[in-house]
């Protein structure tokens, strides 16, 4: 039998002999490794998960035209500058003052599908306008004009301000454009959006007779503030006449929340690893105390301190490796459960995390074994073999 084979035999036999103690140590390491693996998975997945959550709070980037308005071509070029997996939505708005019940009202026209993506927090009682002749009004507007879902209302376009500006005198202008709309939804946001009426771009074009151009374009993009800044720079460089500005209130709060969450994850991981270390150290100390006679015998037979260290450290490494392997698998399940319950989405396994977790577990176990092993090397064979 080779020396190495005997070494392995001794370690495995020793671990199997003290099954209950070793199962406790293994459980402690596995739980520690599970938390480590799980939280590291979440740590790396949180920006993606939280990013998706943050996107529900609205646009985080706005396009501003360097000229009078934003064209459809500029919107399309902007879209090309953003990776598809990062772009949640891009909603370009055209604003126009129209009249409802002969009173001026600010109307906004946009691609409603994109608005739903950039402003998922909007609560709509009823339906979003999907066809021509359908309109969604803000809650305040609905109260003022007594508008309800299903009710019909006439919208007129009167370019009064232009008339005033050009002639310098007030003049009654008879509207030449009007559309009968059906109210499909009442919009509740708690913000200024409740004062607006929303219609399709085609209706706005028909009502005003002016070809579509946009006043503002809102974007919802996933990513850290650095990534967003890079995208904004790219848009500014590659789309002529367009400046992209970050909504700092949103991006900075994203960064703050993410960094705090990640710090918390790190802190919990460190605490759990420290607790694992204490548990393993306690178990190994008990094992050493239990095996004082055996250690004394080994020393009496000529075992050097190096041999004693190698044997106990070997047991620790085996425990750490198995605990780490078990923990990394459990950690994935743990992270999956957290992700499903908190973020309603699943995560993907990061294969590199398995060897990293095993290595970390071996390291933690090794450190935890240092004090017990030191006491093992201090066993006096003359004393313990006499039973004192």
């Amino acid at each position: 039998m080779k020396k190495r084979k005997m070494y392995i035999r001794m370690i495995t036999a020793s671990l199997l002999r003290r099954r209950s103690r070793m199962i406790i140590a293994l459980l402690a390491i596995s739980i520690g490794a599970m938390i480590l693996s799980g939280l590291v998975t979440i740590y790396y997945d949180v920006p993606r998960q939280m990013g998706a959550q943050f996107r529900s709070y609205g646009a985080n980037m706005i396009l501003v035209s360097e000229g009078d308005a934003i064209t459809q071509q500029q919107v399309d070029e902007t879209r090309q500058q953003i990776p598809a997996d990062k772009l949640v939505g891009i909603a370009a708005y055209r604003y126009q003052t129209v009249r409802i019940n002969d009173r001026p009202v600010m109307a906004a026209a946009a691609d409603m599908e994109q608005v739903r993506k950039t402003s998922p927090f909007w609560l709509v009682d009823g339906e979003w306008p999907a066809n021509e002749g359908e309109i969604m009004v803000g809650k305040n507007l609905a109260e003022i004009y007594n508008l309800k879902v299903g009710k019909r209302t006439t919208c007129t376009f009167a370019p009064e301000s232009e008339t005033e500006a050009e002639n310098g005198e007030t003049e009654e202008v008879v509207p030449d454009n009007w559309i009968d709309f059906t109210v499909t939804g009442i919009l509740d946001t708690g913000g200024k959006e409740e004062d607006y009426a929303y219609m399709l771009l085609s209706d706005m074009e028909k009502l005003t007779g002016i070809p579509t151009e946009y006043d503002v374009c809102e974007l919802s993009v996933s990513g850290s503030s650095q990534e967003l800044s890079a995208i904004a720079d790219r848009i500014a460089d590659n789309v002529e006449g367009i400046q992209a500005r970050l909504v700092k209130r949103v991006t900075e709060s994203e960064d703050t929340v993410l960094s705090k969450l990640q710090s918390l994850v790190l802190l919990v991981t460190v605490v759990v690893l420290a607790l694992t270390m204490i548990c393993v150290a306690t178990t190994m100390t008990a094992v050493v105390a239990e095996r004082r006679k055996e250690i004394g015998l080994r020393k009496a037979l000529g075992a050097s301190n190096g041999s004693i260290i190698a044997e106990f450290m070997g047991e620790g490494v085996v425990l750490g490796a198995f605990g780490g392997l078990l923990g990394s698998l459990l950690g994935f399940l743990f992270a999956q459960a957290v992700s499903r319950n908190v973020f309603n989405s699943s995560i993907t396994l990061m294969p590199w995390l398995v060897p990293v977790t095993i290595l970390a577990s071996v390291l933690v176990t090794g450190i935890a074994c240092l004090i017990p092993i030191r006491s093992a090397t201090q066993v006096d064979p003359a004393l313990v073999l006499k039973g004192e």
Binding site: M6, R17, L297, K299, A300, G302, S304
Partner: protein, 232 residues
């Protein structure tokens, strides 16, 4: 030159002189018994001769080398290379089989050799019990495994501390017979015992009292065979 020589060896614990200027010589191939009442210093002497403990003063020459001046690491090397130890309480590793326990001594000495370990077990009559765990062996069998373990590395000297203390009469005889065979093969034996029957089979007996050699007896009719005394 004697294999082992103690010159004015003392071991002092506080005010207690466990050994008090003891001098002793053990020749190569000799079988020496050490007797004495409890607290007389027998085990202290065994620990010092066995390089398990250090003397407070004096010289301990093993094969001409003074081991009294050696550090812990050197004493470990001496135990590994020159000494075979047998204990009253056997001290076998419970999770290793008989043959593995014998190989344990080889493991620390050089390279484990199962064939050689099996031969050692065969010498003590335990070839058929080689793959049994200590818990599956009787006291006598466990002590015979210890003897096999002690002799596996061909030590200069075998030290046995109360080797029959935990054995019944039949097993006591088996172990003493093993010692006789080892002696016949030229092994140097130092046996600490309370038992006069075990001491009587040795070539020479020294009796310790209060840490000093009280007297010494030479066995003129040395046969190495045990003679049981029947109490009336």
């Amino acid at each position: 030159m004697s294999l082992l020589e103690l010159k004015n060896v003392s071991k002092i614990y506080g005010s207690l002189h466990a050994l008090d200027h003891v001098s002793l010589k053990v020749e190569k191939g000799e079988w020496l018994a050490i007797m004495g009442p409890s607290g007389s210093g027998k085990s202290t002497m065994m620990n010092i001769i066995g390089a398990l403990d250090k003397a407070t003063e004096g010289e301990i020459l093993l094969d001409g080398v003074d081991i009294a001046k050696k550090n812990a690491k050197a004493l470990t090397d001496i135990r590994r290379d020159k000494i075979g130890l047998i204990f009253q309480q056997f001290h076998l590793v419970s999770y290793l089989t008989a043959v593995e326990n014998v190989m344990l001594a080889q493991y620390y000495h050089s390279v484990p050799d199962e064939k050689e370990a099996l031969e050692a077990l065969d010498r003590v009559g335990l070839a058929d019990r080689a793959h049994h765990y200590p818990s599956q062996l009787s006291g006598g069998e466990q002590q015979r495994v210890c003897v096999a373990r002690a002799l596996i590395n061909y030590p200069e000297i075998i030290l046995a501390d109360e080797p029959t203390g935990n054995l019944d009469e039949a097993n006591e005889e088996i172990v003493v017979e093993l010692f006789r065979k080892l002696h016949m093969d030229g092994t140097t034996l130092v046996v600490v015992t309370h038992n006069p029957e075990v001491a009587e089979v040795a070539q020479r007996t020294i009796v310790l009292r209060n840490g000093r050699v009280d007297h010494e007896t030479i066995n003129e009719n040395f046969t190495g065979k045990i003679k049981h005394i029947t109490l009336q």
